[in-house]
């Protein structure tokens, strides 16, 4: 059903009796053309673009829990396309373009909010690194700006300029960056995919692969065997576990990343701000909560929760960056399982097992990638060849040495 101010008005008169499920609660069929494992943002977007751009209709998305229970439901919602390396930047810009028309495309308000992203810097060295990045963005045709301390102060006066251990010297600004309502992205893609006939199956955990002659021909699930010509994995933090069912080892470690939300307050922070002297980033949700996070806890974990030292580090940086948030209270903390790769960049590629495709390794940056990841993964599955914008995100890059390491920290996932 189509959503609009008009349908809302009509349903209000109708006491809202006519609303249909946002997506059907499908029961799995025995065979599909394509099965996507994982009902997160990426899996749902992939299914949607497979249907819309590649004309496939016999598609299922299998989700082990409730829709959106993974990282799409627990991220800090930052979207941006301000990457350094060409292998990444073109991809994230494709994503940004897709974000910009997303609501109209999906007929669902995911509250994409281009309020701007400000990355602070504190030294000449950091400034030069950001200049390199900002110029690289310009070469991609993407606007970027390098602000000095005064311009930053005008934009966000409540930053900790005074008494700073690492004084703010300026910032990298991307006006088109911002946030989106994370859950609604999942629901919107689910809604739009469902409208195109995609089966979205919740509470259906993939427990193994059906293989014939080395090829994957379907999956075993908690709800029985399901056959498919092609199977795509979009399971984020579970990539290694699912890949292991196909006897694959991936260049991935699963680590926990925490995020936090404060009690709701009146508008205080106009854009997304990240700290350059510590791990901290913050924005304010439309509900008024300050949504913020920091660094990984730093060890392998599937527990979906973290520990206090990280919380303390995050807020030591947070209070240094924005000392007036001190008397606001933390309402809730949670964790997500990050599929951290060895170079901090993702993988969208075929696997060595025929019929099995991999979209993973999104580390803590895959929310902004959602539309483009779906777009490129759909392309890969449908055409069996990488999309040009994701051509660098190959699985064999570690063997060939074509590393995509944005921060230069090396093959150590917890340092990205």
């Amino acid at each position: 059903m189509r959503y609009s101010a008009f349908s809302l008005f009509r349903e209000t008169l109708n006491k809202h009796r006519g609303w249909k499920p946002t997506w059907r609660d499908a029961t799995p069929k025995s065979t599909y053309d394509v099965i996507i494992i994982g009902g997160g943002g990426h899996g749902l977007a992939t299914a949607y673009y497979l249907a819309k751009e590649h004309g496939l209709t016999n598609i299922a998305v299998l989700e082990k829990g409730w829709l959106g229970s993974g990282n799409i439901g627990r991220n800090t919602t930052i979207i941006r396309s301000n990457y350094l390396l060409p292998g990444n930047q073109a991809f994230y810009e494709l994503s940004m373009k897709l974000w910009e028309g997303l609501e109209q495309e999906l007929n669902y308000n995911a509250m994409v909010s281009q309020r701007g992203v400000l990355n602070l810097f504190h030294s000449d060295g950091q400034r030069d690194t950001y200049a390199r990045r900002a110029n690289s963005m310009r070469l991609h045709g993407v606007h970027s700006a390098l602000l000095d301390a005064d311009e930053v102060r005008r934009m966000v006066p409540i930053l900790g300029f005074e008494e700073a251990r690492f004084p703010i010297k300026g910032g990298l600004w991307q006006a088109r960056g911002g946030t989106a309502r994370h859950d609604a992205v999942a629901w919107g893609y689910a809604h739009a995919a469902d409208m195109r006939g995609v089966d979205i199956v919740q509470n259906c955990q993939v427990t193994g692969f059906l293989r014939e002659g080395g090829r994957v021909v379907g999956v075993e699930t908690s709800r029985g065997k399901i056959r498919a010509r092609k199977v795509g994995m979009s399971v984020a933090g579970s990539s290694s576990r699912v890949a292991a069912m196909a006897d694959l080892r991936l260049p991935i470690e699963s680590q926990v990343l925490q995020a936090f939300v404060s009690e709701g307050i009146k508008p205080k922070i106009p854009c997304v701000v990240t700290y350059g002297a510590g791990h901290f980033y913050i924005s304010q949700s439309d509900k008024g909560g300050l949504v913020f996070g920091g660094d990984l806890d730093g060890y392998n974990s599937y527990a979906q929760r973290g520990n206090l030292p990280t919380v303390e580090h995050v807020l030591e940086a947070g209070m240094s960056m924005m000392p007036s948030i001190g008397r606001v209270r933390m309402l809730r903390s949670w964790g997500g399982i990050m599929d951290m790769t060895m170079d901090g960049s993702p993988i969208i590629d075929r696997t060595p097992v025929e019929g099995l495709y991999l979209n993973g390794g999104w580390c803590y940056g895959g929310f902004k990638a959602t539309p483009a990841a779906g777009w490129c993964f759909a392309h890969l599955i449908a055409r069996n060849e990488p999309h040009p914008s994701a051509a660098a995100m190959r699985l064999d890059r570690f063997a060939t040495g074509h590393i995509l390491n944005e921060n230069g920290r090396g093959a150590q996932p917890n340092l990205h």
Binding site: E253, A303, N307
Partner: protein, 89 residues
């Protein structure tokens, strides 16, 4: 989380730096297929959900490298020992 350092005793994880899977060892650089083995050792991980044997460095303490066997589902630590039992103490 606290790690029972075999030298120092029970310490907060803040004192430790994590490195990762302790089951991978440095391949023989002169062996056959050394390149492939190095690619795998440096990059591929079993990444189990459950017990994981991993290296931590007690940087804020005795500077030992220790091997911790820990359940990645519960964070429960089963054992801690020096990373290389050969090391002189």
């Amino acid at each position: 989380m606290r790690i029972d350092c075999p030298h120092c005793g029970s310490r907060d994880i803040q004192e430790f730096v994590y490195r990762g899977d302790a089951s991978v060892s440095r391949p023989d650089p002169d062996g056959e297929d050394a390149l492939k083995h190095f690619v795998d050792a440096v990059h591929l991980r079993t990444n189990p959900a459950g017990f994981h044997s991993e290296h931590w460095y007690h940087s804020g303490g005795c500077r030992s490298w220790v091997t911790v066997v820990r359940d990645t589902l519960t964070h429960e630590i089963e054992s801690v020992g020096f990373a290389n039992e050969e090391i002189d103490r």
